[in-house]
């Protein structure tokens, strides 16, 4: 065990936590905003898959990872338009449509990828990183001279993600847009009575969700794996929905939940590598148990919107 308490291992532990946490951060942040507006995106897994594929595709053909991230976000947003049309505008069941989006995305991405890349299996290599001057040379948290970096040596998209979290928290709490989003989820009739379109508010929140989930998927394929593989998301979209619900509307708790999950997952890897004699069944429960305990203990005062997953029909009681 003691031979694992080295700088390299501890740095890799943090890097692993970031690699596992960032896709969840983007996806659950988008889902949290959509949920606050009253839209439950069960198809989050599908948005992520589409984002992962198109992000990879753009990065591979464009030779630029930043373009890849933009491509992934755009693809996720485009798919979320299905949710907007069928659920927000037409009022169809959000759960049924969400499941359909996930199934279609799984089949479509596997089909297109196999048709184009099954033989060649291209990879993207390591993503370029920004080293924070002075801090990136620190042991363990620096990571400048390691394979996957650490806190102060990460690809720009990670730092952009932190800025998006701050902006989202500020927007929800301090702006009219944020007030509209919260009202669309809590009391849509009041928002309607105030002359603001509930459909438009929910639509924009859903598109934001799609873009963020697509970005999370793109991070997964471009940075976390460096390649695309059928069903690469492996249920991360559903984990992101759970994180968004446990965070209950707070962007900061989405950030904490995502990284607690990522670091817990990374710790479970290190426990195995250390040869700790615990059943892997228990080891793999660690991230889920940790997140639930942390968010229940510290996030109790948040809540789920009253009109979550309910279509808005003007005048309906």
């Amino acid at each position: 065990m003691s031979d694992l308490l080295t700088t390299d291992v501890l740095t890799a532990l943090i890097a692993g936590g970031i690699l596992a946490g960032v896709p969840l951060l983007f996806a659950s942040l988008g889902e949290m905003v959509a949920e606050r507006a009253g839209v439950l995106n069960i198809g989050l897994e599908g948005y992520m898959l589409i984002g992962a594929y198109f992000g990879f595709l753009v990065a591979y053909h464009g030779g630029n990872t930043f373009l890849g991230f933009l491509g992934g976000a755009a693809a996720g947003a485009a798919v979320s338009l299905i949710m907007v049309a069928l659920c927000v505008q037409m009022g169809l069941d959000q759960i049924v449509v969400g499941i359909a989006i996930t199934l279609v995305a799984e089949g479509a991405t596997a089909l297109i990828f196999d048709a184009n890349f099954a033989e060649s299996r291209p990879t993207l290599g390591a993503t370029g990183r920004i080293d924070i001057p002075g801090l990136s040379q620190l042991p363990v948290v620096g990571g400048a001279d390691t394979s996957d970096g650490s806190i102060f040596s990460q690809p720009p998209i990670v730092y952009i993600g932190l800025i998006i979290v701050a902006l989202t928290a500020w927007t929800l709490r301090r702006t009219h847009w944020g007030l509209n989003i919260r009202a669309a989820g809590d009391k849509p009739s009041a928002l309607d009575a105030a002359g603001v379109s509930v459909v438009a508010t929910r639509a924009w929140a859903t598109i934001f969700c799609g873009a963020m989930a697509g970005l999370g998927g793109a991070y997964l394929s471009i940075t976390a794996a460096g390649l695309f593989e059928d069903f690469i998301t492996q249920g991360r979209g559903f984990i992101a929905i759970v994180l968004a619900m446990l965070a209950r509307g707070k962007a900061l708790w989405v950030l904490i939940g995502s990284f607690v999950f990522g670091i817990s997952l990374s710790i479970s890897d290190v426990l195995q590598i250390a040869g700790v004699d615990i059943s892997t069944d228990l080891v793999f429960m660690l991230p889920f148990v940790t997140v639930i305990v942390v968010l229940i203990l510290f996030g109790r005062r948040s809540y789920l919107p009253a009109a979550l997953a309910l279509p808005y029909v003007r005048g309906a009681r």
Binding site: D8, V9, A15, A118, E229, Q234, V270, I273, D277
Partner: protein, 353 residues
């Protein structure tokens, strides 16, 4: 509007009736198949869950079946990418299309494949289900994959400069555990002091390439400079981690040893040290011969170093090392070396600690 609706409904009924009648006709032909089961093998079929170009299990199965069919002068009917959820229609269709032997290339097909074999009287091969073996109908294939992994362990122990070897598996899979144990035993036969760093990505993370990369990076950070990876789709992430890794202290490069298939065509950085190849050709050829002899299903088959498991030969090791591996392979085949069987995590842990 109402007339048009009625017209479409009538058309739908006619189409459904035609499909139903076609199905009945096929059932008739299946009776013919049953009656002529002793005839020569004109066609064999294989159903595989993923596409037959995955550089792994599915590709090896399809290529083995194709080679066996070719040597028997038979036609091959490939149904790859059939998934796991509902394969019964696929197997029925293969039987209806005249297959005289069906290979159900996934242990996930073990419930439905014997049922279809009994119904259509088509000799069928299943995997990891010894109890399913039934004379004339079903034969099981087991893999002594630990034997090939033993050879990989020798190669790894001869190659490592840090004295630490990594083992990464994607799931709690019996074959992965068997190979992990064989690998450890092989490495220890060369160097009893060699250390192992082992980690599992998830309970069934076969396709988690991001998880494969994350876990492999951590194993490398713990000092492993040779990684033995077992993962299906996740192994592409493992390979990516090895390609992008900074070598641990004491080593100048990190190497990867794969299983089942040959990833040489996609090894752009030259880090693929070898692979434990599973070639099913001889097993399938034997099954075809047994059908001809009327002994199919009297017993199961074992894929081993004697009939299809070997180590992919690359130029990353010296001739002396390969000679030593060849010698070990011969001793395993003759029974002089008995590779331990480790079907679960506890058995593997007992070997690597």
């Amino acid at each position: 509007m109402k007339k048009r609706l009625l017209k479409y409904t009538a058309m739908a009924i006619v189409v459904a009736a035609v499909i139903a009648l076609t199905g009945c006709g096929s059932d008739d032909s299946s009776s013919t198949t049953a009656a002529s089961s002793a005839a020569s093998i004109e066609k064999i079929a294989i159903a595989a869950p993923e596409k037959g170009n995955d550089y792994g299990w599915n590709q090896q199965g399809v290529e083995g079946a194709t080679a066996a069919a070719e040597s028997a002068g038979a036609e091959i009917d490939v149904a790859d990418g059939s998934g796991y959820d509902d394969v019964e229609p696929v197997l029925r269709r293969l039987a209806q299309r005249g297959a005289k032997m069906i290979i159900a290339q996934a242990s996930g097909y073990n419930t439905v494949a014997p049922k279809v074999a009994a119904e259509f009287k088509v000799p069928t091969i299943v995997f990891d289900s010894p109890s399913a073996t039934t004379p004339g109908e079903v034969a099981d294939v087991e893999t002594s994959s630990q034997q090939g992994a033993y050879l990989a362990g020798i190669l790894a122990a001869k190659t490592t400069k840090t004295g630490t070897l990594g083992i990464v598996i994607s799931a709690a899979d019996t074959n992965w555990f068997k190979q992990a144990g064989g690998f450890a035993a092989g490495a220890k036969s060369v160097n009893p002091d060699v250390k192992f760093k082992m980690a599992q990505i998830g309970q069934a993370a076969y396709a988690d390439s991001a998880g494969g990369k994350r876990v492999t990076s951590q194993v490398i950070a713990a000092g492993a400079d040779v990684v033995f990876g077992m993962g299906d789709g996740a192994s592409f992430g493992m390979l990516q981690a090895v390609e992008t890794a900074k070598a641990p202290a004491g080593a100048d490069k990190v190497w990867f040893i794969d299983v089942i298939g040959d990833k040489t065509p996609i090894d752009k950085k030259g880090v693929l040290l070898s692979s434990v190849i599973w070639d099913f050709t001889k097993v399938y050829e034997q099954a075809i011969a047994d059908i001809g002899a009327g002994t199919f299903g009297d017993q199961g088959y074992d894929l081993s170093v004697s009939n299809g498991i070997s180590l992919l030969r690359t130029d990353h090791a010296s001739d002396e090392v390969w000679a030593e591996i060849d010698d070990a392979q011969a001793k395993i085949a003759s029974g002089e070396i008995d590779v331990p069987l480790t079907p679960d995590q506890a058995a593997v842990n007992a070997l690597i600690k």
